[in-house]
Symmetry: C2
Subunit: 319 residues, 2 copies
């Protein structure tokens, strides 16, 4: 039996944001309804970074993502985060595909945030603010454009060149290069920085705003002033991960935010067990840490499409 080998360029070619959004939303339903499995991430600490093993299953699909974070990589011309996914047949264990996980990570993270916005942002949201113009800006913008009729995208980043590059990638979008404060004058704000201290001030956030806090994914990382959390309805993707390494991790450690004040998780909001936004004045925050069910949902799309195409490299990896 052959195993498909799918490079990053091929994954990028096969992936499709609307489909990823549907699959990731379904994964959160499967999770809360007991049809998914997701053991806690395992971490291995290296001198210059770390590795995370993220296995998960959904009905009919199972995979592991092996992903690193090495913050010194850009100096070597390598991405900080790279990932490989092994996608297997739940019925036999056979490895159906080995694929790049970097592109999948970027898409599923964008998709999860846009899904959160769907339930937590105001229905009439039209202006998107991006704090950070790195890799994740592309998929946040792409995913939000699927679900919202965006009229304007305000982007803040220390490097104007990064914003210009983003503009070039989305020529039909009205993208403006602005300050962080100005980017926060938006219906939906996505914070996508590697910050280790608040870059968004509480005084900038007006009632009715929804914030996707994406950047914090490890202990010590933080993008929002804790006062924002105290005024907001805070929804997380995974409570344990949020407390240990999500946006709330620093405020929790300092006693500035109580984990009991988490409103609920994304599964609860999606399934209506807990209503999302209930009025137009409320501030809402989605604390995204990234969960493995998002990866397996997305890897399935890539595998199924590649298999249907029938033109990709496949090797007899195991037998």
């Amino acid at each position: 039996m052959p195993t498909l080998i799918l490079t990053r360029a091929e994954v990028k070619n096969l992936i499709d944001m609307p489909e990823v959004i549907r699959a990731v939303e379904q994964a959160f339903r499967d999770w809360i309804e007991g049809r998914a499995q997701m053991p806690p991430k395992s971490y291995l600490q290296m001198e210059k970074g770390d590795f995370r093993a993220m296995p998960a299953s959904l009905p009919g699909a199972v995979c592991i993502k092996w992903v690193n974070v090495h913050t010194g990589n850009p100096l070597l011309g390598l991405a900080t985060v790279m990932g490989v996914i092994i996608y297997s047949d739940p019925e036999t264990g056979y490895p159906l595909a080995v694929m790049d996980g970097s592109e999948i990570t970027a898409y599923r993270t964008g998709a999860a945030a846009a899904i959160a916005s769907k339930y937590l942002a105001r229905k009439d949201s039209k202006v998107l603010g991006l704090v950070g113009a790195g890799r994740q800006a592309y998929t946040q913008l792409m995913a939000h454009a699927v679900l919202f009729p965006l009229t304007e995208v305000k982007v803040a980043d220390p490097l104007e060149a990064s914003v210009k590059k983003l503009m070039a990638a989305f020529p039909t979008m009205k993208i403006k290069y602005v300050s962080v404060e100005e980017a926060c004058k938006a219906d939906i704000i996505c914070t996508i920085t590697p910050a280790r201290g608040p870059v968004v001030k509480a005084e900038w956030i007006k009632g009715g705003t929804h914030i996707n806090a994406i950047g914090a994914d490890a202990k010590g990382k933080e993008e929002l002033e804790p006062a924002i959390l105290n005024r907001a309805r805070v929804v997380v993707d995974d409570i344990r991960q949020a407390v240990s390494g999500g946006e709330i991790n620093v405020p929790v450690a300092r006693g500035l935010f109580n984990p009991k004040d988490i409103y609920g998780d994304l599964s609860e909001v999606i399934t209506g067990r807990k209503p999302g936004r209930t009025d137009n004045k409320m501030i809402t925050v989605f604390d995204s840490t990234g969960v493995a069910i998002e990866d397996v949902a997305t890897a399935r799309i890539i595998h199924d499409r590649a298999k249907a195409d029938g033109k990709y490299l496949s090797v007899k990896l195991v037998d």
Copy 2:
């Protein structure tokens, strides 16, 4: 940067038992001396089997093995256990190689048992007994032949054809097809069955024997009568895994063996923190469950050899 893709046939071609034995022994030293990392295995339970995620690092090497156990596979013409290893650069996280893990699993398991025999069996051991003539028989025999001047190998298996196949693979070895009782009249016995109840009786085991109990690797599996354990010096590869799914798991659950009576682990014996065999009359048992440091030690050999050869498929998997 390219990622090497190494199929099972290629891994088999690159692997070398004496080198695996040296590397696995060094891995156990690295582990006890604090130079290795090995989070607990994660399990995902499927309807027809399970998956295990096994990450580990050694100095200069890190990998994850994603391995399944699907006992119904042989009816479909597939192996029960298959595995894929992603071998990465600890310095950057880059996936250096994706390789078959089945062959590596077989070799490292054989190597670990032979290392245990080196410290626990009588120095003058010459007769090897194999209870089971499946896949693992090959690598147990190969590894023991590296470390002991075997004059005879006694093999028990319900299927004579399996034993004939083993004989054909080792034409220069004196291999005899015998009963389980007769196979136990040996200096070193390796039990390599999928049994869920004792196949080796206590009355068959004479003083001076060393047993590698390999087959039990999950809850409910058991190959030896518990009375053997009570008379023996019992060494494990990993105490937690042994108690939950190794040879001792059933006796422990039934109160027939106390985990406090475990003599020590293989790292302690290898490094001399606890002496191995101390007299010629003693019965010794090595309870092998398989640990991820064995995999990363072996994966490094394969990667380094494949890279040096420079003739294997490599693809731009991530970037």
